[in-house]
């Protein structure tokens, strides 16, 4: 059992990592356009939190959305095709990197206006409570999103109306080139929750077991007591803000501090230590095949037909 969990978490994180490393390569080859925001380094947050949710719980996040989409079980083929703007993409090429969707799995997207997803995610949870379902909504946002009005309004109403939602600040230490100390007037972002009757937690986002435990408790509070929680997960993005950002505002050493505790590396080593080296290598190969297959699939897929440019504007 414990082994299965370990293996599963390792596989899910590695799958995200490899998916995005390939995406980065394809971006430099100009096969992917627009902005590409990589989740590399933060995998334990999406995988850890989503691994304790029900399939019927809702998930919504910002534009750095590949990780949550894949952690929720989204297809690598459809994801890669979306990045290339193909008709076979998870949003038929209409959404793009910032706007992945997999509504069947209740992954409600990737949104681009910082903080804008907070009240909307609260609305998903509101609807489940209204319908009498015991599903919750989980909303991911960045450390840069805590100063914007939509964040405050979404939290204030969630607390007031007892909305079964969990809000997760993925504090990767930077908003674009801006380190936290220049935007947050505190290094404990969860204090934003003190303004409302709402629970708050801070967790090491590189410790996937701690992430799971924290999420489990928050989900329970939301599901059983309609008490929302604001979680700050301290994490780090190894790459620039987007592919356009060289990340000059920090040193390689800064990054290495976090890389040395990389959750994928850690879990991989644990597997080896527990005599599951073969299994680990098999998993790595399977993932490699899946990702390469996804790339081929995406490259071979057709672009949307020009005459469909305005489709999906109205029902």
């Amino acid at each position: 059992m414990e082994h299965e969990v370990l293996t599963d978490l390792f596989a899910k994180m590695l799958r995200i990592r490899r998916f995005e490393e390939e995406a980065a390569r394809l971006y430099t080859e100009k096969k992917i356009g627009g902005f590409l925001h990589l989740y590399i380094g933060q995998e334990a947050v999406a995988v850890g939190t989503i691994s304790v949710l029900k399939d019927t719980d809702y998930i919504m996040t910002g534009y750095r959305c590949h990780g949550h989409y894949l952690a929720r079980g989204g297809s690598a083929r459809a994801g890669m095709a979306e990045l290339m703007g193909k008709e076979t993409g998870c949003a038929k090429g209409r959404g793009g990197s910032m706007h992945f969707f997999d509504v069947e799995r209740r992954f409600m997207g990737g949104w681009g206006i910082v903080g804008g997803q907070v009240p909307v995610a609260a609305g998903l949870a509101f609807a489940e409570k209204y319908k009498g379902e015991d599903n919750i909504a989980v909303c991911y946002l960045g450390d840069g999103a805590i100063n914007i009005g939509a964040f405050h309004e979404g939290l204030a109403l969630s607390a007031l109306w007892g909305i079964p939602a969990v809000f997760i600040i993925e504090n990767n230490q930077y908003a674009m080139g801006t380190p936290l100390e220049r935007t947050a007037s505190t290094d404990d972002l969860s204090i934003r929750a003190l303004a409302y009757p709402m629970a708050r937690e801070t967790v090491d986002g590189h410790d996937i077991y701690a992430v799971r435990a924290t999420m489990h408790a928050a989900a329970k509070r939301a599901r059983e007591q309609q008490l929302p929680t604001l979680i700050e997960a301290k994490t780090y993005r190894y790459r620039g803000h987007s592919m356009a950002d060289p990340g000059k505002y920090r040193t390689a050493a800064d990054v290495d501090v976090w890389k040395s505790r990389d959750p994928i590396k850690v879990l991989g080593e644990t597997m080896d230590a527990q005599g599951m080296k073969d299994l680990r290598m098999r998993i790595e190969n399977e993932i490699e095949e899946e990702i390469q297959d996804a790339v081929r699939f995406a490259e071979d897929s057709p672009f949307p037909a020009p005459e469909t440019a305005m489709d999906y504007t109205y029902v």
Partner: protein, 338 residues
């Protein structure tokens, strides 16, 4: 304003005269009875029965689960409504007035309007944003805004702006049943206005304009409460021997070009009346579209009567100067027909 009623093409048997606020309440109530998924959220909609009493008694009838008093947090409750719509409910979000929709407009334009295309149809967002637009009496610069064109500009949205009690009820019911996000504009000044409304259920289709007065010399095009001053203008123009046809658009997006073009093709002259400033306004767009599409039908350029280019001053002595008036409508018509 009696003109409006006399000429209401929809007036028919079994009718009562009711106020617009009650027509709106009937529409919401009927739809909430009909569909469990419909609910109303906004400031003062419940215990206070609505700032303009459009939801009187609805809290008692449906309870606080479905008639929800919201704090002053338009981005918050508009966003929650949008999320709820994505999850299968059919929210009616009331803005006390559309002046205050501006603090929530990002949610409407960037989330509600775009969600379906961005998800390639995986997400639907059936939601109605309703409230009063435009000026009332002496509310000052910040409470006299006309923003319907900001929404009408935006692909993915439907924009409805009726004038009469009959159209208000029939179009609000259609809006609630529509599967797209709809912005529904009312007017503070006409909530108390009475008009004939059938006792039996009916719908007014979205996207159909209505000829509120027949005429032969010039087509007057308008929407929302400006219909009434336009009808008054038509009345006084008649005394001058100018026969004006009045087209009430009722829906701004999608636009009923057929009714509009047919009327102009008949009269060969057109004046648009709007409570909007001129630049990048909806009325200016109509002027352009008519000219571009049926240029040869026009014996004169399309006229336009607009709000003057200044924020609304408080003093009544100035407000009347800024807003469109029957006199300014008549002047423009004379200029176009002269």
């Amino acid at each position: 304003m009696s003109n409006a009623m006399l000429n209401d093409s929809s007036a028919q048997s079994a009718v009562r005269e009711i106020q617009i606020r009650d027509a709106l309440k009937e529409a919401m109530t009927e739809e909430m009875v009909r569909d469990e998924r419909v609910f109303l959220v906004g400031e003062e909609v419940g215990h206070y029965n609505g700032a303009y009493k459009c939801s009187k008694g609805m809290l008692e009838q449906f309870g606080s689960k479905r008639v929800i008093d919201a704090p002053i947090a338009e981005t918050g409750f508009a966003g929650i409504g949008i999320g709820a719509a994505m999850a299968g409910l059919r929210p009616i979000v009331e803005f006390m007035t559309f002046n205050f929709s501006l603090v929530a407009i990002d949610q409407i334009l960037n989330t509600a309007a775009k969600s379906r295309l961005m998800s390639a149809g995986q997400i639907e967002c059936p939601i109605v944003f309703r409230g009063a637009g435009g000026a009332a009496f002496q509310l000052g610069a910040q409470h006299a805004n006309s923003f319907e064109h900001f929404y009408a500009y935006t692909p993915g949205l439907i924009v409805v702006a009726p004038a009469t009690p009959y159209d208000m009820k029939g179009l609000l019911k259609s809006s609630i049943r529509n599967d797209n996000p709809v912005c529904f504009f009312e007017s503070e000044l006409t909530y108390g206005m009475r008009g004939p409304v059938p006792t039996e259920e009916y719908l007014v289709p979205i996207g159909k304009a209505d000829i509120k007065r027949e005429g032969t010399d010039v087509t007057l095009v308008t929407w929302s409460k400006n219909l009434f001053q336009t009808l008054d203008a038509a009345e006084s123009l008649a005394k001058e021997g100018i026969s004006a046809e009045v087209v009430d658009l009722r829906t701004l997006r999608p636009l009923d070009t057929e009714t509009l073009f047919n009327s102009v093709a008949k009269t060969h002259r057109c004046v648009v009346v709007q409570e909007q400033h001129q630049i990048a306004s909806y009325g200016a767009f109509l002027g352009h579209l008519i000219t571009r599409e049926i240029f040869d039908e026009l014996d004169a350029p399309v006229g336009l009567v607009s709000t003057l280019e200044a924020p609304m001053p408080y003093s009544k002595a100035l407000e009347v100067v800024i807003l469109p008036s029957v006199e300014r409508i008549c002047q423009e018509v004379r200029a176009i027909c002269g």
